[in-house]
Every structure is written in C-alpha cells, then in structure tokens.
Amino acid sequence: MRLIIIITITCSSIVFAVDSLETPDTLVSARKANTLSVCASILLKGYKKGISNLETHECPMTPSCSEFALEAFRRTNPLKALFLAVDRLTRDNSFAKYYYPKNEKGKLVDPLDRYIKCDKKPRRYY
C-alpha cells in the first residue's frame, strides 16, 4: 500500500513538473531540449514520408497523430511532447467518434491547442 502511494505521488509530481516546464526556447538547457525535439521530429518526418504514405488507412483525426506529435515537439518540451503524442495514440480509437466533433471532411477534430492552451482564456469574445 505504501509503495502504491509513493508511486502515485512520484508520478503525479513528475507530471506537474513536466507541465510547469517552459517551451524549449526558454529552457536553461535549451540546446539539449532542442536536440531531442529535432531528433524526434526527424524520426516523425521519416515515418510520415517513408511509412505513412504507403498505408491505405488514413488517421481518422485531424491533425493526424504524426502531425500532432510533430507540432507537440515543435511547441513544447520533449518530455511533455512525448506524453502528449503517446496519449494521442491511445485516444485514436474506435470510441473517438463519440468524443470529438467532425469537420466537413468527416475527420475528427482534435487540435494540440486544446492540450497546451486549455487553461488559457480565449482572447476574443466572438
């Protein structure tokens, strides 16, 4: 029981620490963070060009999971981006059609802004 509590508190602390990290531009170890982001971006771009194009099945969400991950790595720190990308992979399932609105092309809309700006109030009222 004690172990479970310790794991819970540790994991939650990690999550909040991840969330409180700034974007790569403002990090003290900005160069390191950027290097990780660049590596991940190269891998994702490679996947998009080399593998994703060959598949007939398209991602039902927009932006697609790889585009979502690319954007996450570009806009947030690498650890947060990794968690967001993995979470997106698990959200891209058969139940997704009940939770997300569809656009005119029939794709489920799930932009990254929801997850990195969701506690910021909109600037314009209409």
Binding site: I4, I7, T8, I9, C11, S12, I14, V15, F16, V18, D19, K80, L82, F83, L84, A85, V86, D87, L89, T90, R91, N93, S94, F95, A96, Y98, Y99, R114, Y115, C118, D119, K121, P122, R123, R124, Y125, Y126
Partner: protein
C-alpha cells in the same frame, strides 16, 4: 492627376458613399470616407455622427484600438447626449473585444453616474465578469439591472450565471493520481470510458508482457517495459490535461449557450 477633393474638385467624402462602402464590406475605406466627411464638416452634429460611424466601420474591420480612438472624438466634444452614451459604450466594447476585461469593469465603474450609458455599461461589465468566469460577480452585476432590461437579457443572464456556479468540474490532480494508481481511471473520471479502457489495456498489456517475458527474452522484455513506462506516463499526463480540457469545455459550452440564447448580445447594443 486627381486632387485630394476628387475629380472636378468635388468632394467625394459623402456619408452616402461611405455607407455604400460599409454595406459592401469595405470597412477600412468606409472608415476613411466617414473621417474625411467629419473633418470636412467640423464641429457639428453630422461630424460627430460621422466619427461614430467611422468607429463602427473600424470595429467591423477588427481594428479595435483605432475604433476606440475615433469614438473618443465623439465623447470628447462635451455634449452629453445619446450619441455620446453610445460612443462610451462602444469604447468599452472595444476593450471587451480585445480581452481587456478589467478595463471594461473599471470603465463601467467610472461611468456609473453617467445617465446616458450607465446601465448598458453595467450590462457589459457583467458580461466581462461572465466571460472571465467570475460567475458570482456576473450574477450579482446582472441582478442589479432591471430583469426586463435589454429585452429581458439581464434576467436571462442571471439564470445562466447561476448555472455557471454549478458547472461540473474535474480536478486535474485527482485525475492524474487516479491514472497513476490504475491506468485509465483518470480518463474514466472525466467520462472518457473508451479511452480509459484503451489506456488500461495498453499499459497492462505492455508491462504485463514485459513481466511474463522477463526470463525468456530479456531484451524484448526491456523494450516492452520501456514502452509500457512511456504509455504509463502518457496516460497520467493525458488524464491531467483531459481534466483541464473537461473544465474548459464546460465553460465554453455555457458561454456558447449564453450567446446563442440571450435576446441582446453585448455587441448588438448601440449597433447603429
């Protein structure tokens, strides 16, 4: 080459021309024509009216700062009539449009003794509280107005603001902790049962697989354990942001509902 007054020396700056431009959606040009008219006919009621219309055109062109400056020309003339009240209101509305909610509230507070626009400004201030998610303050400010005012909008907004105070909320911290204890539990807490199931299966499958294969294929088991760890982290962080989005969505839904159902939206007041 044409001179500034237009072909033949005649003034092209007539309000009719500006009205036409405004109706065609050429708001910037319409504003220029209104301003030209105002400066060619200074000091009169027509000039003040033209300034007001120029402000409206600039607002429609999403140039709120410039619009506020032009409305100031109407209010600074010293005449306390309904047009000055309307300009006062539209200045506050430009703050609202730019998300400067505190300025709207301060502006309404300053003008509370101004009989030409006190009530509309209080209505706008209440909307600013509402938009800023300060529902108790919004309710009390709407409540100060006559319930029948603005086509019964004030009364309607009292009800909606009260609703806002009882919106369902989810704690991001609790969601993250629940997911740390049982993968997917935080998602279920936010009503995403499908995602919860997928999370549970993914994490349990990978970590369980790593445990089962530990003796037979150590390297594969390590790979599975690392992947499981990443998915576990993603599941916790996903629950955390999912709960935040849940709260945000409820606020946005209420705001959409209010804007769709309210008889008189803030921007529809003094929309000459």
């Amino acid at each position: 080459m044409l001179n500034a007054a237009g072909p033949g020396g005649l003034s092209s700056a007539t309000p009719g021309f500006a009205e036409k431009l405004d109706s065609l959606g050429e708001y910037d040009r319409a504003a220029v024509e209104y301003l030209r008219f105002a400066y060619e006919n200074p000091g009169g009621e027509k000039a003040r009216w033209a300034f007001f219309r120029a402000g409206r055109s600039l607002e429609r062109a999403n140039k709120f700062e410039q619009a506020a400056a032009v409305y100031n020309e109407v209010t600074s003339s010293g005449v306390a009539d309904s047009l000055a009240g309307a300009a006062c209101y539209r200045i506050a509305l430009t703050y609202f449009s730019r998300g400067r909610l505190n300025d709207v509230i301060a502006y309404a507070d300053d003008a509370r003794f101004d009989t030409t626009c006190a009530d509309p400004l209080n209505y706008l201030a209440a909307w600013a509280y509402f938009f800023g998610r300060d529902y108790p303050a919004a309710e009390s400010t709407f409540f100060l107005l006559e319930p029948e005012s603005f086509d019964s909008s004030a009364g309607f907004m009292v009800t909606v603001s009260e609703k806002g105070q009882y919106l369902p909320r989810r704690s991001p911290f609790l969601a993250a902790s629940m997911s740390a204890l049982l993968p997917g539990a935080g998602k279920a807490y936010c009503g995403r049962w499908g995602d919860a199931l997928v999370n549970l299966v993914a994490v349990a499958g990978m970590l369980g697989g790593a445990y089962a294969l530990w003796e037979d294929d150590r390297s594969f088991a390590v790979g599975l354990a690392i992947s499981g760890g990443i998915f576990y982290g993603g599941n916790i962080y996903g629950s955390y942001v999912g709960a935040r989005w849940f709260n945000e969505e409820k606020h946005r839904e209420l705001y959409r509902y209010a804007r769709e159902r309210v008889p008189k939206r803030p921007e529809e007041l003094y929309d000459y």
